[in-house]
């Protein structure tokens, strides 16, 4: 029984890590209706920038600030060079643009910062605490706390601030938002920058666990079923989706894997997501689109 509980808890904690990546997608989707495929590349760029600075002897806080600065500059450039020329184009066009953007960011990040594997140690012990027999580490608890904090901060940002309300207005109706004086480029720059900071946090936590290397950008593949299940436009949905994916893929590997003589977690999450698409296309917390016909 304890083994089963440990498997579920481990899955839930892994799910929070997936959710951190998924939140970056949600932010941009909420503000522009675009599925930003480049979010994984942003995770790689942010972690690689941070760790490179850190290896040059800069203190943690300064590395963090400089990396945030780099991500803001990147966001401004993306808005100016990619998004602005595509204003009022279909979401499909914008999606394809972000797909291309992901390759550009990955390529440039590797070209400038190298392809080496880096160790990233945030100084948080990642050995089991054995709380009532549960295999939970300080790092797991830290990750959980960061996720909850992030959701709270973003909920405040979207619900209570002027910028957040503008973001929601743009997401609801771009043309109407522009007609009342909301500057679209400004909003996009802000939301991409915030998504960049979320990518940095996700990159640091993932990097601490697996090292900073190219495969960080592949984490995007884990975020997709999370988004489908939780809903593309809901930050709490990303968390719930992450928890569901994390727990079920762990259970699937243990109990279904042996039946098929192979690992199943990589595709099982997608089966689950497909089932959600059939039953609840907007996910658990996604907004149902209302259109005049």
């Amino acid at each position: 029984m304890l083994f089963l509980v440990n498997i579920i808890v481990a899955g839930l904690l892994a799910g929070l890590m997936y959710a951190l990546v998924a939140i970056g997608f949600v932010l941009i989707y909420k503000a522009s209706g675009v599925f930003n495929f480049a979010q994984g590349a942003m995770v790689l760029l942010s972690a690689l920038t941070f760790v490179t600075l850190n290896e040059h002897g800069l203190p943690f806080w300064l590395c963090f600030i400089i990396t945030v600065g780099v991500l803001i500059v990147a966001s401004v450039l993306i808005e100016f060079l990619v998004l602005r020329p595509l204003v009022n184009r279909s979401p499909d066009t914008l999606f394809m643009a972000t797909l291309g953007l992901s390759f550009v960011i990955e390529g440039l990040a590797q070209l400038v910062l190298g392809t080496d594997v880096h160790q990233l140690d945030l100084g948080i012990p990642d050995v089991p605490l054995k709380l009532y027999g549960l295999q939970v580490s300080d790092f797991d608890l830290f990750t959980a706390a960061v996720s909850i904090l992030l959701v709270a901060v973003l909920a405040l940002l979207f619900g209570k601030t002027r910028v957040g309300i503008s973001l929601r207005a743009v997401a609801d109706n771009t043309l109407a938002a522009q007609s009342i004086g909301i500057r679209l480029p400004h909003i996009w720059r802000i939301v991409w920058s915030v998504a960049g900071v979320v990518a940095l946090i996700a990159g640091l936590l993932w990097g601490n666990r697996q090292g900073v290397q190219f495969s960080l950008s592949l984490v995007v593949l884990k975020a997709m079923p999370v988004l489908i299940i939780g809903g593309f436009s809901s930050i709490p949905g990303a968390i719930v989706g992450g928890l569901i994916v994390g727990a079920t893929e762990n259970l699937a590997d243990i109990y279904i894997g042996p039946l098929v003589h192979g690992a199943v977690s990589d595709w099982f999450a997608y089966i689950l997501a497909t089932a959600f698409l059939l039953i609840r296309p907007n996910g658990l917390f996604g907004e149902k689109p209302i259109q005049r016909v």
Binding site: R209, G211, S215, V264
Partner: protein, 446 residues
């Protein structure tokens, strides 16, 4: 006036084009006196950290050889083709270089991916081009009668299983102590990873240990369920058959569930500096099999340091990789290649070899311990002898341990129980021949 000027321009373009065309045949044969080494590299993508030091080792060695006049006077022309470790791009590269490049011929293609090696059999047979995989090819290609154009030289994963089990037995005090031990193989769920399921089943049957097979999906960035299972089942030893990010994640997750690192023995592709450094202190004590021992104290390494690294002629942008496991893997490949060409020269003369001559040279390759010493590779390269029947040689490997900063070699060259697998491997080759309806190879001598 404008028409006249346009006509003059057109005449100039045509003249330049005709000069270009007249030079083209000479250009095409520019490298006729050189031997082509197509290098299917991956300097981008998730496996670039494993690739870049290898290409450094290969290019630095050929750079050194060429600076001394080449292999018996024949210079090596390296042409890189980026694959990003994808099969489709590797096939594209194969098509581009299988017939040579600007007059330079290919004597043998040294491939750089187990996946590519497993799928190139039909093309290599049709093109009559020898394909060599150093320590990573399909194990049934050992049988030269069925696979005349494939050479999985130096090492195979079946023998590796045997070496690992022998090493564990030695730690326990003898092969009889294996009985009842729980040995789990945590493997990358791919053709490469699944390759040891069969030999471990054979070994478990022979020695009575409990064989537990645990797959990890690619890329392996999340392994908590697998290691919880290991902990729950009371596994004694783990054989880790990982690749890329899967290795550091496995080591860190093992520490998270409290599994001792010195009871994990990694595969040859899980035993580089790039595999353990991201795992930090969790990797201290971790062991791995190696056929490419790290270090820069080998005689050939010292020569390269003096003639290539120190004068700034290295392919490595970061020369701290010099002497690393992957750098030395590249170096070993380049040395074997040079010896193949040298063997061919002894029969056919000192000139670039054709694929047919390359195949002959491979099947008569004999790198004796004396020759290894003469090459300055004692301790780095194990002796290697191939025959038309045996396309692998006598595989051997060492066990190394990570101390937090360096790999320390714990053993000499260890041999596996190859005879135990002989029948199973050759039966697989025979089944392949039957499935493909391959006629028996006419002659296997000379």
């Amino acid at each position: 006036m404008r028409i006249k000027r346009s006509l003059q321009t057109l005449a100039g373009v045509l003249a330049a084009a005709s000069v270009g065309l007249s030079l083209a045949p000479a250009h095409a044969a520019d490298h006729a006196n050189e031997q082509l080494y197509p290098l299917f590299s991956y300097r981008t993508g998730p496996y670039a950290p494993a690739g870049i030091p290898q290409w450094g080792g290969i290019r630095d060695y050929f750079n050194y050889i060429n600076s001394h006049g080449g292999i018996d006077g024949v210079k090596v022309l390296v042409q890189e083709c980026e694959t990003a470790y994808t099969l489709e791009r590797a096939f594209e590269c194969y098509e581009r270089y299988k017939h040579g490049y600007q007059g330079a011929q290919v004597a043998a293609l040294f491939d750089t991916s187990s996946g590519f090696d497993a799928t190139i059999s039909d093309e290599a047979r049709a093109d009559k081009l020898p394909v060599v995989s150093v320590a990573g090819g399909r194990e049934d290609a050992v049988d030269g009668a069925v696979f005349p154009y494939q050479f999985p030289v130096l090492f195979d994963y079946w023998t590796e299983s045997s070496i690992v089990i022998n090493y564990i037995a030695k730690q326990l005090g003898g092969l009889d102590k294996l009985k009842g031990q729980k040995i789990a193989t945590v493997y990358h769920d791919s053709g490469y990873g699944r390759d040891t399921i069969e030999p471990l089943a054979i070994l478990a049957k022979k020695y009575g240990f409990i064989d537990i097979e645990i797959p990890v999906p690619d890329p392996g960035e999340q392994q908590q369920a697998q290691w919880q299972q290991i902990k729950q089942q009371g596994v004694n030893w783990v054989f880790l058959r990982a690749w890329g990010v899967m290795t550091p994640v496995a080591i860190k997750t093992a520490a998270r569930v409290g599994f001792p690192s010195d009871h994990i023995i990694g595969d040859i592709w899980s035993g580089s500096e790039e595999d353990v450094k991201p795992a930090g202190s969790a990797a201290i004590g971790y062991k791995a099999v190696t056929v490419f021992p790290s270090g820069s104290n080998f005689a050939i390494s010292q020569t390269l340091k003096k003639e290539i690294i120190d004068p700034g002629k290295s392919d490595l942008r970061d020369t701290s990789k010099f002497g690393s496991v992957y750098y030395n893997a590249g170096l070993v490949s380049a040395i074997i290649y040079s010896e193949v060409i040298h063997t061919g020269h002894e029969k056919f003369g000192n000139r670039p070899l054709t694929p047919a001559e390359g195949q002959w040279a491979l099947e008569h390759l004999n790198i004796t311990p004396e020759r290894v010493a003469a090459l300055g590779a004692t301790g780095l390269l194990s002796p290697l002898k191939l025959t038309p029947e045996d396309h692998e040689g006598e595989p051997s490997a060492k066990i190394q341990q990570w101390d937090g900063h360096h790999w320390n070699v714990l053993t000499g060259w260890l041999n596996g129980d190859r005879a135990l697998f002989h029948d199973a491997i050759f039966a697989k080759a025979a089944a392949y021949a039957k499935q493909k309806n391959l006629p028996p190879r006419p002659t296997l001598t000379n």
